[in-house]
C-alpha cells in the first residue's frame, strides 16, 4: 500500500503542462502545418478555445464528484462494469500513445546525435528512466515536474526569442491556410492534442485542495495553449509553407537556425539535454498512469509489480512499427482520430450518467 499522496496545485499544473506540451519537441508544429498549412497556429488556437469550453462543462459536472477519479465516476455511472470498461479504454489510450512517444523520442535522439546506436538501445535507455520514475511514484514525479517544467518553458521561450531574426511575417499568409473548412475539419481531430488532460481526472483524489481542480485544469490549459499556439506560429514564421511540412523535428530545426553573431551558434547541443528531461518526465508519468489505471481498474493491491510488465509492453509496442514513418502514422492517423473521444466525450458521458443516477438516487432517498 503506497502512503497517502498529496499533490500541490503548481505541481499538478506542471505535470499536465509537460504532458500536453512535450509534443512541441516532437512533431506538433509540423503536423498542424500539414493539417492547416500557414494557419496551423490559428487551428491550434481554435482547438484550444474549444477544449477550454469542453473542460468548463466537464469541471462543472465534476464538482459533484470532488475527490473521485474518473474511474470512480465510471463506477458511479455504470457500476463495476462501467469502471472496468472505462479503465480498459483509458489503458488502450495510454498503451497506444506511450510506445509511439517512446519510439518518437528514441528516433529523435538517433537522428540528432546517436546515429549509429540501435534504436532499441536508445529506447532501453528511456525505459530505464521510465522504470525509475514510475517506481518512485506520483509524488516524486510531480515534484520533479515542478522543478524542471519552468526550466523547459524558459528554454522554449529562449529558442523562440532567439529565432526572432529569422521571423518573416508574410509567412503567415494566406491567413486561413488550407481554408476555413479544412481548419474546422482537421480541428476536430486535433482536439486530441489535449488528450493528456485526462491525467487530471486520474490525479483528482491526490490533489491537496480538491476544490482547485477546475483552476488547475484551466491554468494548465491556458499555458499549454500558449506554448502550442506560440510554437506553431514561430515555426511558420521561420520556415515557409510547404517547407514547414518537411522537417522531422521542427523545434530542433528552429534551434539549429539560431545564429546570433559569429559566436552564438550551435546552441541545440544545450537543448538536447533539456529535451531529454521532458521526454523522461513524460514517459515516466505515462508509465505511472498505465500501472495506476490497471491497478485501479482491476482493484489490485499493489502497483509496483506492474511496472516491469508494462515497461516490456511499452518497449515491445514501440519497437513494432517497421520504420519512423509508420510510427508517425500511428500517432497522426490512429491516435488523433480516437483519442479526443476518450479524453473528452467518455468523461462527459460518465459524468452525465453519474450525475443523473446520483440525482435519481437522491430523489429516491428523499421520497423514502
Amino acid at each position: 500500500m503506497e502512503r497517502k499522496i498529496k499533490i500541490g496545485n503548481f505541481e499538478a499544473a506542471c505535470l499536465l503542462l509537460n504532458m500536453i506540451s512535450s509534443k512541441i519537441i516532437l512533431d506538433f508544429p509540423r503536423t498542424v502545418a500539414e493539417d492547416a498549412g500557414t494557419a496551423g497556429w490559428l487551428m491550434t488556437l481554435l482547438v484550444s478555445v474549444a477544449v477550454f469550453a469542453i473542460f468548463s462543462v466537464i469541471s462543472k459536472l465534476y464538482k459533484k464528484f470532488s475527490g473521485q477519479d474518473i474511474l470512480d465516476v465510471g463506477e458511479s455511472a455504470f457500476g463495476t462494469v462501467g469502471k472496468i470498461l472505462a479503465g480498459i479504454l483509458f489503458l488502450v489510450q495510454f498503451l497506444l500513445i506511450i510506445p509511439v512517444i517512446l519510439r518518437g523520442f528514441a528516433e529523435d535522439i538517433k537522428v540528432i546525435s546517436l546515429a549509429s546506436t540501435p534504436v532499441s538501445l536508445v529506447m532501453l535507455l528511456f525505459c530505464a528512466g521510465m522504470v525509475v520514475g514510475a517506481y518512485l511514484g506520483l509524488e516524486t514525479l510531480v515534484r520533479i515536474h515542478a522543478l524542471l517544467v519552468p526550466l523547459l518553458a524558459a528554454a522554449f521561450t529562449v529558442i523562440s526569442i532567439m529565432n526572432i531574426p529569422n521571423f518573416e511575417f508574410s509567412r503567415l499568409a494566406p491567413w486561413l491556410g488550407r481554408g476555413a473548412e479544412t481548419i474546422l475539419k482537421e480541428g476536430v481531430k486535433n482536439l486530441s492534442i489535449y488528450s493528456e488532460l485526462i491525467a487530471l481526472f486520474f490525479i483528482m483524489p491526490f490533489l491537496h485542495k480538491k476544490s482547485d481542480f477546475a483552476g488547475i485544469g484551466r491554468y494548465s490549459l491556458f499555458f499549454s495553449a500558449l506554448f502550442l499556439v506560440f510554437s506553431s506560429m514561430c515555426y511558420t514564421l521561420v520556415y515557409p509553407y510547404p517547407a514547414t511540412t518537411e522537417y522531422f523535428l521542427p523545434m530542433y530545426q528552429m534551434t539549429r537556425a539560431i545564429r546570433l553573431g559569429r559566436f552564438f551558434t550551435r546552441i541545440e547541443s544545450a537543448f538536447i539535454v533539456i529535451w531529454a528531461f521532458s521526454a523522461f518526465l513524460y514517459l515516466s508519468s505515462g508509465l505511472y498512469f498505465l500501472t495506476w489505471i490497471f491497478q485501479k481498474t482491476f482493484a489490485l493491491q499493489k502497483r509496483k509489480p506492474l511496472i516491469l510488465p508494462f515497461t516490456i509492453l511499452v518497449f515491445t509496442g514501440g519497437i513494432i512499427p517497421e520504420n519512423l514513418y509508420s510510427t508517425l502514422q500511428i500517432e497522426m492517423e490512429l491516435y488523433r482520430s480516437v483519442s479526443w473521444i476518450i479524453t473528452f466525450l467518455l468523461p462527459l458521458l460518465l459524468l452525465g450518467i453519474a450525475t443523473i443516477r446520483s440525482r435519481n438516487k437522491k430523489r429516491k432517498e428523499a421520497a423514502e
Binding site: 498549412g37 500557414t38 537522428v111 540528432i112 546525435s113 546517436l114 546515429a115 549509429s116 546506436t117 540501435p118 538501445l121 536508445v122 532501453l124 535507455l125 530505464a128 528512466g129 522504470v131 525509475v132 517506481y135 518573416e168 508574410s170 499568409a173 494566406p174 491567413w175 486561413l176 491556410g177 488550407r178 481554408g179 520556415y239 515557409p240 509553407y241 510547404p242 517547407a243 518537411e246 530545426q253 539549429r256 537556425a257 545564429r259 559569429r262 551558434t265 550551435r266
Partner: protein, 434 residues
Amino acid sequence: MMSTRNNNARTVIIACILILIMTTSGCHDAIEIDEMVYVVAMGLDRGVEGNIRMSMLLAVPIAVGVGPEPGEVDKATTMITVEAPTIFGGMNIANSMLSKQLNFSHAKLVVISSDIAQRGIERYMNTFNRFREFRPNTFLGISKGPAEDFLKTSKPILEANPAKYYELLMESWEITGFSVDSYVKDSYADMRSIDSEAVAALLDVNRLEDSSEFKKILGEPINDQKTMEGDYTAESVPAIFDSKSMNMGAAVFKGDKMAGELNGRETVFYLMVTGKLQDAYFTVPDPQQGTIGEDNEAKFVSLRLNLARKPVIQVEMKENIPHITVHILLEGIILTSEGEKDYSTGEGLKQLEDFSAEYIRKDILSFMEKTRDEFNSDICGVGKKMKQKFLNWDDWEQFHWAEKYQNSIFDIVTKVSIRRTGMKIKQIPMSDAK
C-alpha cells in the same frame, strides 16, 4: 519489512542508473575528436558521365595553431577532390583515402559551379537539408568558373583560421553591399516558396596577374557612363592580391535553376529593395554640371548609405497586371566631394540629396526591370506582399504569381537624406582661397 523494501528500491535505482551510465557513454557512436577531419569548404563541379566532382577543403588543425601560438597559415588547409554520382558517394571515396572520418559539421561554405547551378541544384539542397552534419547557416556560393579552382586559389592571407576566413569573406556584404547573405537555409526556403526566388553569393577566381591588365576590364564604359565601383561580377574585378578568390555580385535563381547574375552595384540595389542593406560606400557623379577637372576626369561625391527604414513595397493588380511601387528611404553621410561645389549645407545639400535620390531611383528601376525581363524571377520577394491579399493557400497557388510577375509595372520612389557631412561642415574651394 520497511528496510527490505528500501533495499529493493535502492537496488532498482542503482541498476537503472548503471544502465543509464553504460548506455549514455556510447559504444556505438563513440568517436574521438582527433579521429575526424573537418571540412571547411566544399565545392561541387560537373564531373564526367553525370558524376559530380567534389572538392573538399580540409582543416589541418595543427597548422592552424595550438593555443595562442599561430601555426603555418599556408598549410592550414589541404584539399581533396573526388568524383562520384552523389555527395555521399564522394564522401565514401574520401573516407577510404583519409586516415580520419570526414565531418561536415564545421563546413562554412558550399560552392556550386554555375555549370551545375544552371541545370538545377534541388538535389544538392535536399542533401544539405537532410543530412544532420550540414548546418542551415552554411554559406552558399555560386562560382562562375569551376568551384575546385575557387577553393584551390583561396588563401586566407590575413586570417590564421581558414573557417573564419570563409565566414568573413562571405559576410563582407555587410560593409560593401556587393554581395548577399546567402545561407543554405534561406536559399532553400526561397527555392521552396512560390512567393519569392533565391539568390546566392557570386564567387569566382580573379585571374589578373598584373595591374596593367585592368585596362581589359575598365576599357569599355557601361552605357556610355564611367564604370563605377561594383560594376563587375566576381571574375572581373580590377584587383591584384595574393588570394585570388572573389566575392562580388549575386547569382539569381528561378526555382532551383540559376537564371542569371547581378553585378556588385546591382546587388546593392537588391539589398536596398529587400531591406537588407546595412552599410555601403556609394559613389555618385558630382551633381554640378560641367565639373570636369583639368585632366578631363569626372568628379564624384562619395556617400556612405544605409536604409533609414525598411522599404515599403506595395502591389496592386490592375487589369491582371501587377503594379509594384517601392518606397526606399536612405540616409547617408558625405564621405568626400571631389568637385568644387560645397554640398554640405543649404541649397547644395538639397541638390545632392535630390540628385542622389534620382540617380539611385533610375538604377533601381533598371535593376527591377532586369529581374522582370532578363531573369523573370521575383528575387525581391514582391510576391510576399501579394500573398497577404489571399485567404486560402489554394487560391494563392492558382494565382500563379511567377507568371504574373513577368508583366509587372514598377514605380520606384526614393528619398536620400544626408544626415552628416563627415569631419567638415563646409568645403571652401582652394581656387577661392588663392
